[in-house]
């Protein structure tokens, strides 16, 4: 379950949105085994080398390091990576069929590959599998190591857009760069999260790999939240919940993602999106070379209005709490979305319940601050003051509870007194830190720990 212990400086306020409806690249996603067999000689040799190189990178990569294997892979065009993953899928599928056929009839199978028949041991060797894995048709160790490689490519290389080794984007994973509610540019986010999900979706993966897969989904989502990567976390959590539909952690994180999509800094950026794309006022019927789509087709790239997201967030938080009633942060955020929906009485109930259970100063702060806001809306001035004072006691110079107290005051002196001492400190003074500033990235605060734990588990359960 996510914990939210907060410290540190306010975020850079950068978040990314998914560009709408971009056409797939010419190589397509997911080369089939038929296409593998049908390539011309020259292209097939290049593709053979690609698989060998990729497998080599998978097994050579050191977790958490931006080493040569991960940099090499990060420099590949998406079409090539996608073709390799398709090839791995085909080979894994063959191994599974061969294992089943052998188990039923004792017959050996071969696979037409690279213009000749390949036996199981050869394919296993090509993929770096052990003899036992070949017999069992178990590709989970390879897959987990590959997911680790692509995860590190996404985090360690793709996150640094100045890296000259990044390939020119195919436009499949475009995203808008937004800062402080304003569009400041666009970027190709790279294919690695997508490729990792494809690998984890291989039918040949045994159920024993489910736990590692689930933990990866959670850790990666936490990372994406911590970096405000909305463009990445949307498809990520959709995929995770398709595979693990009742998982309370994933449900909670999706609720938090929806809550973020309803936030002012996201909504303001999207409000400005049609204006950003308007060129000469003439609607465009196709995608031009700049990857821009006519405004009338998609006005809001993957982001709906705030209320729609908040309504969905409530559903996800409730499902998460049904599965895990002790999920305190889920209850706090449920309280917030209920308040956003104007259901302040219900919000107060959830926040009152969460407050005594909140572990750590940041969660307690959120519960108290939000409760102060709800009581204020309900006209319960004394209760609101008490809640705000509780929040202020946890972070004495945080501005939000003091602003709340100020807004409740009837006279100017009373309105001023909660503010003057605290807000006279420079904004970069550590004591000025307000956890409210991190509310929308807060579910990612454990990202480093979750990723480290997952990487360690891969090293232990999928050794080289």
């Amino acid at each position: 379950m996510p914990l939210s212990v907060f410290h540190g400086i306010p975020p850079a306020a950068l978040c990314l949105f998914l560009l709408p409806l971009v056409q797939p690249g010419p190589a397509g996603a997911g080369a089939s085994s038929a296409s593998v067999a049908g390539h011309p000689q020259a292209a097939k040799s290049a593709q053979a080398r690609a698989l060998d190189d990729w497998v080599g990178a998978v097994w050579r990569h050191e977790p958490r390091l931006a080493d040569a294997p991960v940099r090499e892979i990060a420099a590949w065009p998406e079409a090539d990576l996608s073709a390799v993953v398709g090839e791995v899928s085909a080979l894994a599928e063959f191994l599974a069929r061969a294992q089943t056929r052998f188990a039923r009839s004792g017959q050996l199978s071969t696979f037409n590959y690279r213009r000749r028949p390949w036996a199981v041991p050869e394919i296993a060797k090509l993929l770096g599998l052990s003899d036992a894995e070949a017999v069992q048709a178990d590709v989970s160790r390879l897959v987990m190591r590959a997911v680790l490689l692509h995860t590190d490519a996404a985090i360690l290389v793709d996150s640094h857009p100045d890296d000259a080794r990044r390939p020119a984007g195919s436009g499949m994973h475009g995203a808008l760069l937004v800062q402080d509610g304003q569009h400041i540019g666009s970027v190709d986010r790279g294919p690695h999260w997508h490729l990792a999900r494809r690998l984890l979706a291989l039918p040949a993966l045994p159920a024993s790999s489910d736990d590692l897969a689930r933990r990866w989904y959670i850790a990666a989502a936490a990372y994406m939240h911590s970096q405000s990567l909305i463009a990445d976390v949307q498809p990520h959590l959709s995929s995770g919940l398709t595979r693990f539909p009742g998982d309370p952690d994933l449900l909670f994180r999706r609720g938090a993602m929806l809550e973020t999509m309803a936030a002012p800094h996201v909504q303001r950026a999207v409000d400005g999106f049609p204006a950003m794309w308007r060129l000469d006022g003439t609607p465009r019927s196709s995608i031009d070379s700049g990857g821009r789509v006519e405004v009338t087709k998609v006005a809001r790239p993957g982001i709906a209005d705030a209320r729609t997201h908040v309504v969905e967030a409530e559903k996800h938080f409730r499902r998460a709490l049904k599965a895990a009633p002790d999920l305190v942060e889920g209850r706090i955020r449920l309280g917030r979305v209920l308040a956003l929906l104007g259901r302040h009485e219900e919000a107060a109930v959830e926040l009152e319940r969460a407050l005594p259970a909140a572990h750590g100063p940041a969660l307690e702060y959120y519960a108290a601050l939000l409760l102060g806001g709800v009581h204020s809306r309900l006209g319960r001035v004394d209760e609101a003051r008490e809640a705000y004072r509780r929040a202020a006691a946890l972070y004495p110079r945080a501005q939000s509870p003091r602003l709340g107290l100020s807004s409740l005051a009837a006279g100017r002196e009373a309105a001023s007194s909660p503010l003057v001492e605290a807000l006279a400190f420079p904004e970069d003074h550590p004591s000025r830190y307000d956890p409210w500033w991190d509310y929308y990235t807060g579910t990612g605060i454990e990202a480093e720990a979750l990723l480290a734990a997952w990487r360690q588990a891969v090293v232990e359960e999928a050794p080289r």
Partner: protein, 283 residues
């Protein structure tokens, strides 16, 4: 309005030492309203008490005083220092702020509130311009925009003396980070006597908060094309504010506590009158 607020504070001081006690004076006190009168875009001067008609909750009131003299000002500059205000924009903002300070009279008080996601009282009310200039120089653009929160701070600042309160708010974007909701700050605005002028950038995606705030306080919203216009705009605001009348009256025949709708007119003239639409009287 300010008189009511002041006496309410006196009641608090006697009845309870804590700043947020809820004991208020029940005496009827004078209300002071800042009024701008224009005709065809030009400020109308030379009007007296007999030229004005004022209705409080629809009831005509006797106007005690109309002042056109230069009363001391309490000016709060509220400046957006979020990430988008950097480089040339920041330089323009500093220049405009400095120019405003230069135009203040010796007995005017000024304060500086800067905001990104963090709101800072960069300089409390003072007549010392040097401290304010230093604060303006120190301010740097970084982070998100807590415009609503910053406005609350500006309205809540306890101005010294009995001067007229002017708040000038500049933002080049929209609120992305505040804790308070706009309606809460508008409530604060209705309980103070400050007049808010807002300066925003034309063409940006807008929420109506600044427009609502200026309308609620009888101020004005000015949209500029570029931050180069800030210098002239700040000075124009100050000049216009100094040319407002201060109309004082003692409410009679109207309920004490709560919201009072105000209508201020000039008799016998086709003037445009800008004043706050009402005020909240303490019980």
């Amino acid at each position: 309005m300010r008189a009511i607020a002041s006496l309410a504070f006196a009641g608090l001081a006697i009845a309870a030492p804590t700043a947020d006690a809820q004991v208020f004076s029940s005496r009827v006190e004078a209300v002071r309203v800042d009024v701008l009168v224009t005709e065809r875009g030009q400020v109308v001067r030379g009007l007296g008490a007999g030229d004005f008609e004022l209705l409080d909750n629809g009831l005509p009131q006797h106007i005690d005083i109309v002042t056109f003299e230069r009363l001391p000002l309490n000016v709060v500059l509220v400046l957006d220092m979020s990430g988008s205000v950097a480089g040339e924009r920041l330089a323009h903002l500093r220049t405009a702020g400095m120019a405003l300070l230069e135009q203040l009279a010796p007995d005017d008080e000024a304060a500086l509130v800067t905001f990104s996601h963090a709101v800072t009282i960069a300089a409390p009310f003072a007549r010392d311009r040097a401290a304010l200039r230093q604060a303006l120089h120190r301010a740097e653009g970084f982070g998100r925009t807590a415009l609503v929160d910053a406005s609350q701070v500006a309205l809540a600042l306890d101005a010294p003396g009995a001067g007229r309160s002017l708040v000038i708010v500049f933002s080049d974007g929209v609120d992305t980070a505040s804790w308070l909701a706009p309606d809460q700050v508008l409530g604060t605005a209705r309980r103070t006597d400050a007049v808010v002028y807002g300066v925003t950038m034309r063409g940006r995606s807008k929420a109506p908060f600044v427009a609502d705030l200026t309308a609620a306080t009888g101020g004005a919203l000015i949209e500029i094309e570029t931050t180069r216009d800030l210098h002239a705009t700040f000075l124009r605001i100050l000049d216009e504010f100094r040319q407002r009348y201060v109309v004082s009256y003692t409410p009679r025949g109207v309920a004490g506590a709560g919201w009072h709708r105000l209508d201020v007119r000039v008799k016998g003239r086709r003037s445009t009158v800008r004043a706050r639409p009402g005020y909240v009287a303490a019980p």
